[in-house]
């Protein structure tokens, strides 16, 4: 009995620690706002249609690790690092293989 409750506490601590592993650190909600205002202006109309669902988490991670290489790197320069983290968090946390995939229709 006692061992079990210790187990639960341990699990809870692990959970709190692990959330950061599964989810990125920025503010996904602000990221969604920023993504819509800064990226969606082109992506979906003049540029390729992009949404979190377009890639798996690993791909988003790769993309953002080397963002200087993307086609629209010129536009990315105007985005502050904090904002970029938020956008990354949004795209990553709602990626195709995320725990909460963004819904399509």
């Amino acid at each position: 009995m006692k061992r079990r409750s210790i187990g639960i506490v341990a699990a809870l601590i692990l959970v709190l620690a692990a959330v950061s592993l599964a989810l990125a650190e920025g503010n996904a909600r602000k990221g969604k706002y920023l993504y819509r205002s800064k990226c969606r202006t082109c992506h979906g109309s003049s540029a390729s249609d992009l949404s979190p669902n377009s890639k798996v988490q690993a791909d988003w991670k790769k993309t953002f690790a080397k963002w200087e290489g993307v086609k629209c790197a010129k536009e990315w320069k105007d985005i502050s690092p904090e904002d970029r983290t938020d956008i990354y968090t949004y795209l990553h946390d709602y990626a195709k293989d995320s725990p909460t995939p963004a819904k399509c229709n």
Binding site: A11, I13, L14, V15, A17, A18, V19, L21, A22, N27, A28, R29, K30, K32, Y33, L34, R36, S37, V56, Q57, A58, K96, D97, P99, T100, P101, K103, C104, N105
Partner: protein, 736 residues
């Protein structure tokens, strides 16, 4: 003597029946004209009605229907034969849609509370007053408590999406849906196993295990109809349920499983399938991950072990595992819908998902099939604002490891509002959902409402939730509305599209929630978020199908081109490993059990509370939303407590006695239904009775409220309400 007579009659009746067998077909050829009293009646005239398509609004299934309208009055609702998702049917509730429209107790005007909460004193006010008031209260709350100080809750409705849109435009993250009181545990488990929530293709299945799903009473189209059809064609349907439901009665096999032990059954199935190598080894290697770990995990989960847990004989479990595997991939453990049973429901449903994975039935006829894209376009895009003063997330965020961000958890949101932490929530906008009657521990919902500065409810009737509000706004029924296009999924047949046009003008002063939200958006300074009408919205939704509008008008339903099954073959699953995760790596990362670990159901902490209370459905009512319906209340006039006959005998309770039921959450009094149709350790009652509202004459003061009794437990992983965790005591009223 009369009893003797009756026995004799039935025996004789049986004999004449047997005799009739041979004669019946011959008799069919005899002309009626030989009857002596026969005369011809004048042929009846066809009714002078107009027929208009709509979509049923009596539950979430959205069955296509044809409204027969005479002189502006709906006289009958008939099924739309072109609507194949429902197999062209309309159930008792659908038929009772007319009674809902013309319910004399419908809300007629905006009402402002003038007495104490729950006292029932209201003042009719104009729409302008009502909207001005709501807008100014919401503005005040936003200014004082940040925009997230407003909570938005919407039920399953074709306009509910507009409520979420409004919340986003207003700036609040706090949206809850009915789903967290219903099915999210199952969704969680399947997303974490398959990467999506597949649908059962019952129609083509040869073997279906319904574990707890009462699909012949809790109707889901087309699954319920298809279950009957496939059984007639020789498919096997196994029901596990502590209650002899109608599904149990008609199933090929029924096992009165000990409540809370479904996972033991599933692990034993997995044990047999793996032990006897009844799976498709190539498929498992290519498409799944973690088979070895699963095999080790279930190595000791033998049928004999499971028999001890579930009460189902080991030989039966072994046989079912073999039968299931033999029928695979046209076989399934039905994923279920209402899945909010236990605190470990996500893990229980994971065990369902794992057995399905072992059957290699994903995207196969008769198995579990992915929802097919319906091709609807996003309509009326807008730029939601950002408020830097807002808190970082939902009020219930991070209270469990894997909350669905769009749905949240009502139970956990309620806890947060009660605590005022992590931040205060002081306003509540409710559309067509009724937590006072659907969320466990009604007392707590009541206390939550007391914490609020302002609560507005938009609904068609004075629900218990509306009864507690400050402002109540009358909505029209689905039949009086124009609604956007919605995609519906029907197993292997894929998606179909429906919309609604009003079949009659809105009654009384009712206004659709879209109009209400649009008016509020204007008053609150973000009219651009609702700068469209529904007709235009629908045109944008259907941009990919220029022919759809005409077809929807002609047929009441539009079938977009659907890809055949098997389209996901070779495609990665939307999981971190890109495979079906028998072993859930995400859970491992989060410190959760990566394989479902069985724990026997917790015994009652109180010896006096020796019955587990389970919830369930009748095919005649949709929880609390239709028990007050004038027609349906004839089928379910009151709820009773199902009590096993042996247990009743021990308690001295006879048929129809009023019993007192008590739990830590509350108490209730209702009549006992003494029956062999339930296990001795379990009691059951229907929801939707024992209401509080003065606008529900068929249910207020009638029966007992299940949410008064249920404790507010929740799923440890996704926060879904866990409604089978409550033990109750039962005694005859007046007994010591």
């Amino acid at each position: 003597m009369s009893q003797k007579e009756a026995t004799r009659i039935s025996r004789r009746a049986f004999l004449s029946l047997a005799g009739a067998t041979a004669g019946a077909v011959a008799a069919a050829a005899v002309s009626a004209a030989t009857a002596p009293e026969a005369r011809a009646a004048a042929p009846a005239a066809a009714p002078a009605w107009e027929s208009r398509y709509s979509v049923c609004d009596m539950c979430f299934n959205r069955c296509g229907l044809i409204a027969r309208v005479e002189n502006g009055v709906i006289v009958k609702l008939d099924p739309n034969p072109r609507f194949t998702k429902s197999r062209g049917m309309l159930c008792a509730r659908g038929n009772a849609g007319v009674a809902q429209v013309y319910d004399p107790e419908r809300l007629k005007t905006p009402l402002l509370r003038v007495g104490e909460r729950g006292e029932g004193r209201w003042k009719a006010i104009s729409w302008d007053e009502a909207l001005d008031l709501a807008a100014s209260k919401m503005k005040d709350i936003g200014a004082k408590h940040t925009r997230c100080g407003m909570l938005f809750s919407a039920g399953a409705d074709m306009q509910s999406g507009f409520v979420s849109r409004f919340a986003e435009a207003f700036g609040s993250f706090n949206v809850t849906s009915h789903e967290s009181l219903c099915l999210l545990s199952g969704n969680r488990a399947f997303v974490d196993t398959f990467g999506d929530v597949p649908l059962p293709d019952v129609k083509n299945s040869k073997y279906v295990i319904l574990a707890g799903a009462n699909r012949l009473e809790a109707l889901v189209t087309p699954d319920s109809m298809d279950l009957v059809s496939i059984m007639q064609k020789g498919a096997k349907v196994v029901v596990l349920d502590p209650r002899y439901t109608k599904s149990a009665a008609l199933a090929s096999e029924w096992h009165p499983i000990r409540p809370g032990t479904d996972m033991a059954f599933m692990l034993a199935l997995a044990h047999v399938i793996i032990q006897e190598k009844l799976y498709d080894a190539k498929y498992m290697a290519e498409r799944t991950s973690g088979l070895d770990r699963l095999a080790a995990h279930v190595a000791d989960k033998t049928p004999a072990w499971a028999e001890g847990e579930t009460g189902i004989p080991a030989a039966d479990i072994q046989r079912m595992a073999r039968e299931l595997a033999a029928a695979a991939p046209a076989a399934m453990v039905y994923p279920g819908r209402r899945s909010s049973d236990y605190e470990n429901s996500t893990q229980i449903r994971r065990s369902f998902a794992i057995v399905n994975a072992l059957l290699a039935n994903y995207d196969r006829p008769g198995g579990l099939v992915p929802a097919r894209p319906a091709g609807l376009k996003k309509a009326a895009p807008f730029e939601p604002p950002w408020y830097d003063d807002n808190p970082p997330g939902r009020v219930d965020a991070k209270s469990v490891p894997l909350l669905f961000d769009d749905e949240g958890s009502f139970v956990l949101t309620r806890e947060a509002v009660l605590k005022g932490a992590p931040y205060p929530v002081k306003g509540w906008f409710v559309y067509k959902t009724n937590p006072m009657a659907t969320a466990p521990e009604r007392r707590k919902t009541r206390e939550m409402i007391d914490k609020l500065d302002f609560m507005v409810v938009v609904d068609i009737a004075m629900s218990d939730t509306a009864w507690m509000a400050d402002l109540v706004l009358p909505a029209p029924s689905g039949l009086e509305r124009q609604d956007p296009v919605q995609a519906l999924q029907a197993g292997a047949e894929g998606a179909c599209l429906v919309w609604r046009d009003p079949v009659i003008a809105p009654l009384h002063q009712s206004r659709p929630v879209f109009d209400i939200l649009k008016a509020l958006a204007g008053r609150l300074g973000f009219p651009e978020a609702f700068d469209f009408d529904i007709a235009g919205y629908r045109r944008q939704q259907l941009a990919a199908f220029p022919e759809a509008e005409a077809i929807l008008k002609r047929d009441g339903v539009f079938y977009p081109p659907n890809a055949p099954l098997g389209g996901t073959d070779g495609q990665p699953f939307k999981t971190p490993s890109q495979k079906i995760e028998l072993y859930c790596s995400r859970y491992a990362d989060l410190g959760l059990d990566p394989l479902p670990v069985y724990a026997p159901p917790k015994p009652s902490p109180d010896a006096a509370r020796n019955f587990r209370l389970v919830a369930g459905r009748s095919a005649c009512v949709t929880q609390g939303s239709s028990t007050n319906n004038g027609l349906l209340s004839e089928f379910e006039p009151e709820n009773t407590l199902w009590l096993n006959e042996e247990a009743a005998g021990e308690l001295g309770i006879r048929q129809g006695d009023v019993v007192q039921v008590q739990s830590p959450a509350g108490r209730g009094e209702l009549r006992a239904l003494v029956t062999p149709k339930i296990r001795k350790d379990t009691v059951y009652m229907l929801s939707g009775f024992g209401t509080l509202s003065g606008g529900l004459s068929h249910t207020t003061g009638v029966g007992a409220s299940i949410v008064e009794l249920l404790e507010s437990r929740f799923d440890a992983i996704c926060g879904n309400s866990a409604i089978h965790e409550t033990y109750v005591s039962v005694k005859k009223k007046g007994a010591a």
